[in-house]
Every structure is written in C-alpha cells, then in structure tokens.
C-alpha cells in the first residue's frame, strides 16, 4: 500500500512534467483563437475573447492585415503536404518493404554495401545535393512537379522504411516460412500471408515515422518547387507579411497541419500495439 504522501508527490511531479511538455502545444492552441493584439499584450494573459477569425482567414484564403488584404493559399499548401507525404510513403513502402525482406533473408554479394549506402543518404546534409539537383530538375522538367518532389522525398523516407522493416523481417522465424511453403503455398503467397503480416508492426512504425519526416520537410520543397506544389512548412512563410508577423494565423496553421499526422498516428497505433501481443512463436 502506498502512503498518501507518496501519491500526492507523484501526482504533483506528473503534473509538472505534463505541463512542461504540453505547454507549447496548449499555448499554440490558445494563440490560434487570439487576435494579434491579444497575443502581443504584455504581460500575456490567458483570459481573452476567443475568435475564429484566424481559422476563417486560413480557410477562405483572405488575410486582412493593417496594410491591406493579402491572398494566401494555405489550404492548397495543406493539400500539397498530404499529396507529397502520402505518395512518398506509399512509394517507399512499395519499394522498401520487398527490398528490406531481401536484405533480411538473403545474403548476396554487395547486399550490406547497398543497404548501407541507402542509410548513408540520411547522413549527408541535404543542401549538398540540392543545388546541383535544382539544375538537373530544371533541365529535365521535373522542377515544380509533384513527381520530382516525391522522387527526392525518397531520400528521406526510403532509408527509414528499409532499415526499420528489415529488423522486423529478421525477427520473423524462417521456420514459419518453410512450414508455410511445405504446406504447399508458393514463395509469393508466403511473403504476403506470413512475412508481411508478422512484420506489420514494423511496417506501420516505418510508415508513420517516414510520413512525419516527409511532412516536416522544408528545404526540398523550398528549393525544388514553387507555391503550386509547396507544402505547409514552406507555405507558413507567407504569414511573415510586410506589416509584421501574423502570429494568430501561424498558430492556427500549425494546429491545422498537425491534424493529419495525428489522425494517422491514432490509426497506426493499433498495429504498433499488435506487435507486442503476438509474441514469439514458442510458448
């Protein structure tokens, strides 16, 4: 039995930690319902008249500032983010999962080198390749296209998918695959009915992580695209206007941009937990 004092102290500590980590998020959420005047008031006050004008401005695309009306295209940026991140993750899963399986199961000449080269894409500073890439993209017509950006996004998402799922495939017992094949199932059917389902928690984790990385990317789209394909991370720059920074809209934009990732995380969670409960093959 725990003493009441212990429980009180524990609750207090938990509250403190909670406040520490959640404060920025809560503050952004509050800011998104404030006018710029409320936000910039000193000292800051948590009491204010909530307003929806930040959200209305974002969704309608008309931003009225002290120096006049500004057109912003934030909803289009949001759509771009969804398209870019989703397609990048799908392409990475289609390419990366079978590759990860091959790296996990078969030892072939140069296999380790190939896997490591893919990982090394994560070490290099992106700017190193971006400027030459800009030249190539403009020359072959990939500049400012979804296709071109999704291609470059593979530098972020593919290594993640490959290396995370590879570990999970290595944990799937080879005996299970042999057993399924001896039952009379083909190699391909064994891959889809045994290996993929058993590595699903890893595939889910890799998909979620690479989605977040792709979603948060800034520099690729800043340089390799114009506003027609740019995601929210670049689109948020528009709130730095001639008449000052629109903090309220930035906060609202942030809240909106978190929602898709949040939905995906909640949806993926059930697969992440599934992995913990399936357990090993032996009892």
């Amino acid at each position: 039995m725990q003493s009441p004092a212990f429980r009180v102290v524990r609750a207090l500590l938990l509250l403190l930690i909670g406040i520490f980590f959640l404060f920025p998020i809560v503050w952004v959420l509050l800011m998104s319902f404030m006018t710029n005047v409320d936000i910039l008031r000193s000292p800051p006050s948590p009491f204010f008249v909530p307003t929806l004008r930040n959200y209305v401005a974002l969704i309608s695309g008309h931003l009225s500032t002290s120096s006049g009306e500004v057109q912003i295209d934030y909803m289009h940026n949001l759509l771009n983010s969804v398209i870019l991140s989703t397609c990048s993750v799908i392409v990475s899963l289609i390419l990366g999962v079978p590759a990860a399986y091959a790296f996990a199961r078969f030892k072939f000449r140069g296999g380790e080198d190939m896997a490591f080269t893919l990982l090394s894409f994560r070490f290099a500073p992106p700017l190193l390749v971006l400027l030459p890439l800009l030249g190539y993209f403009q020359a072959i017509g990939l500049y400012d296209t979804y296709f071109g950006l999704i291609w470059v996004y593979q530098l972020i998402t593919l290594p993640l998918v490959l290396w995370i799922t590879r570990g999970y495939f290595e944990d799937v017992s080879e005996d299970l695959e042999l057993a399924y094949r001896l039952d009379g199932h083909s190699w391909l059917s064994t891959f889809f009915r045994i290996s993929i389902p058993l590595a699903r928690p890893g595939i889910a984790a890799a998909g979620l992580l690479s989605f977040i990385f792709a979603w948060n990317n800034f520099i690729f789209a800043l340089i390799l695209g114009s506003s027609s394909v740019q995601p929210v991370t670049v689109g948020a720059l528009a709130f730095i206007t001639a008449s000052g920074i629109e903090y309220g809209q930035i906060a609202a934009a942030l809240v909106l941009s978190v929602i898709p990732t949040l939905i995906l995380a909640i949806f993926t969670q059930r697969y992440l937990v599934e992995g913990l409960s399936l357990g090993a093959i032996k009892g």
């Binding site: 017992s173 080879e174 005996d175 299970l176 042999l178 057993a179 399924y180 094949r181 001896l182 039952d183 009379g184 199932h185 083909s186 190699w187 045994i194 389902p197 058993l198 409960s277 399936l278 357990g279 093959i281 032996k282 009892g283």
Partner: protein, 360 residues
C-alpha cells in the same frame, strides 16, 4: 524398392562440412529415427530433404523421382518443427487447414478434414484459439495435426517432443506410432533422446561427424553398437568404457585380473564396454571381481545407480534393480566409503578397438 532415397548428399557451411557423402533409404511406411548428439547435422539433413536448403552435391529421390531441385511447395512432404512453427496470426483451425487451402480443397471438405484431424489429436475444443492461447502440449498437437491433415507421402518430424513437458512427451511417445501406423505414413523422425529413438523407430540411424555411424533396429543398436561412441550415446547412465589389456587367459581391467569366458578379442589391447546393469556389485569378496569403493549412490526410479572407484582411480557405473540393492538406504554419512567388489559380466560386454573405437 525404397520410397525415400538419399544419394551421396553433402552440404557445407563456409568451410564446415555438416553432411558428408550421406546415403540411406527408407521404405514406404517405415519409421526411421535419425538420432545424434546436438550439432550432428540432424536438422540440416531434414532441411535438405524438405528442400529448404540445397545440397552441394548428391540427390534426393522420393517415390522414384528426383526432387533435388524442386521447391519445398512442390514436394509432397510435411514437417513438424521442434518450435512448432505455428502461424501466430492464424487460429488453430487455420493453421491446421493451411495445407488444404494450398491444395484448393473446398470449404466444407476442408472443415471436415481439419475437424477429423483435430479430433484424432484431441484438440477439437481449441480450434478457434490463436496459438498464443494454447498450452505447449496443444501447440505441439496442432503442429502435428497440420502435418498429418494433407496425408503427405513423407512426414518429417524435427524433435517434436523437445519443448513439451514430460507427461505430454510420454503420452505422445505411445500415441504417435498408433496414429502413424494407421495411415501408413513414411516417417523420418529426428531426436536427441535415445529413449525416444528406441521407443519409436523401426530403425535408428545414428548420425555423427557428418555421416551415419550405424543404421539398424533399436535392439541391434543397443545390443551390438558399431562403435564405442554409439555405445556411449545409448543408455543412462552411460556404458562403462574401460581400457583392457590381454594377460594370459584373462584380461587386465582397472588393475585387476578378470577371467574371460567365451569369445574374447584376439588383440593385446582394447576397450571393454560394460553396461551399468551388467556390473554386479557385492559387499563380499569374489574371485574375478574388481575391488572398489562405493563413491556415490543415486536412486533412479526403482533402480539404484552407483559410482564405483577402483583402486587405480578408474570410475565404473553400476545400476541395480530393486531387491539387489547393496546399500539399501544409500551411503552412510561421513567420509567412510564402503568397500565392495564389482564383477563385470564378460559375456554381455562389448569390445572396441582402442584407437578407432570400432567394434571388434
């Protein structure tokens, strides 16, 4: 005409030759036990037969046709694994039904045959469970049901009783032959438990150092082991292997003279193998018996196992049935060791060459 033949099979990993020029044949309906110490290559051999591992050289023939280059799914072979290898995301029913689904057996027929196999193995009440909800005994039965349900022409069992508790293991040892005889299945069974090998096999193939040391009936393997090494693998406590030197008409063993009656090896030196049950211990001096001290006494069921030490330090195991216990209550406490005399039953002994260990 043998059903399964292995023809000069070899397999190396890196520089380590696990299987070397291995050949054997199994008849239709025969139960062959492959027995060997761990690391002898038993599992590799099964994998070669199953098609999971490709041999470096040699052929595998099943029912007269060469299947060496066939994929596992093309071979009419079923296998039960030591770790059960149940698909953790499928119910027991789907696990057992997997070979039938591969063979495109219809839904109703599949249900009937899965339930029949489950009934036979007494797991029909847990068919809806996932493997993690099954006990080890039930998992093992599910794995066996899966391997039996498609009535394969060849069944490979990779130490299937290794991971179940003693009671289930004993039950299955009695049940398995009955189940398999009824179907006339050809079985290759791998184990490292000599009792299991003796209980189940029509023949036992003793695998060691990459090759078969002896392929024979259980009686012959036990009573006429081909080498000292095989003799040591069968029996608990293990056989006593004593260096023996010819001296006159008798043998000199553990610094004592013992008489030879009957056939004796016609060489100056050899290794004498005496099973513990063929060592007769007495507290009274007898001619031709080795003077020993009783070093330790352990009960083994109704038998008593004794560790004897001869005057020159040679250790001898003796195992005595109930009613002939020399020290009925075990050893007295204290440092004193009882003096006794051990007579070796020469007529039931085995003689092996000292250097090679081969039977003389």
């Amino acid at each position: 005409m043998s059903f399964l033949s292995i023809d000069r099979l070899s397999k190396s990993y890196r520089k380590n030759e696990v299987i070397r020029d291995l050949s054997f044949a199994v008849d239709r309906g025969e139960f062959l036990v492959v027995f060997g110490p761990s690391g002898a290559g038993k599992t590799v051999l099964l994998r070669l037969i199953a098609g999971m591992v490709r041999p470096d050289r040699g052929r595998v023939l099943l029912g007269g046709s060469d299947i060496t280059d066939d994929n596992p799914e093309q071979r009419d072979i079923a296998m039960a694994f030591q770790n059960f290898a149940l698909y953790p995301h499928m119910s027991a029913f789907d696990n057992i039904g997997s070979p039938l689904r591969a063979a495109k057996v219809g839904e109703a027929e599949r249900r009937r045959r899965v339930e029949e196999a489950a009934k036979l193995l007494r797991i029909d009440h847990v068919l809806g469970h996932l493997p993690r909800a099954l006990s080890n005994g039930q998992k093992q039965r599910t794995a066996l049901a899966r391997s039996l349900v498609s009535e394969p022409s060849l069944l490979l069992l990779d130490d299937p009783l290794r991971n179940v508790d003693a009671k289930v293991r004993y039950e299955m040892r009695l049940e398995l032959p009955r189940l398999l005889r009824a179907r006339d299945t050809t079985v290759v069974y791998v184990t490292q438990d000599y009792k299991e090998a003796m209980a189940l096999g029509d023949r036992i193939a003793v695998l060691a150092d990459g090759g078969f040391q002896q392929i024979d009936t259980p009686e012959r393997v036990y009573n006429a082991p081909a080498s000292a090494r095989i003799a040591r693998l069968f029996g608990d406590p293990p056989i006593n292997l004593l260096p023996a030197v010819r001296s006159g008409a008798g043998l000199r063993v553990a610094s004592s003279e013992i008489a030879l009656d009957g056939a004796a090896p016609d060489r100056a030196e050899c290794t004498m193998g005496v099973r513990p049950e063929d060592v007769i211990v007495s507290l009274e001096q007898a001619s031709g018996a080795i003077p020993v001290e009783i070093d330790a006494v352990t009960p083994l069921n109704d038998r008593q196992v004794m560790l004897l030490r001869a005057d020159d330090g040679t250790e001898i195991f003796a195992s005595q049935p109930q009613g002939t216990h020399v020290v009925p209550g075990g050893l007295p406490s204290g440092r004193e060791r009882p003096r006794a005399w051990a007579r070796l039953d020469v007529s039931r002994s085995h003689f092996f060459e000292t250097a090679s260990g081969a039977r003389v």
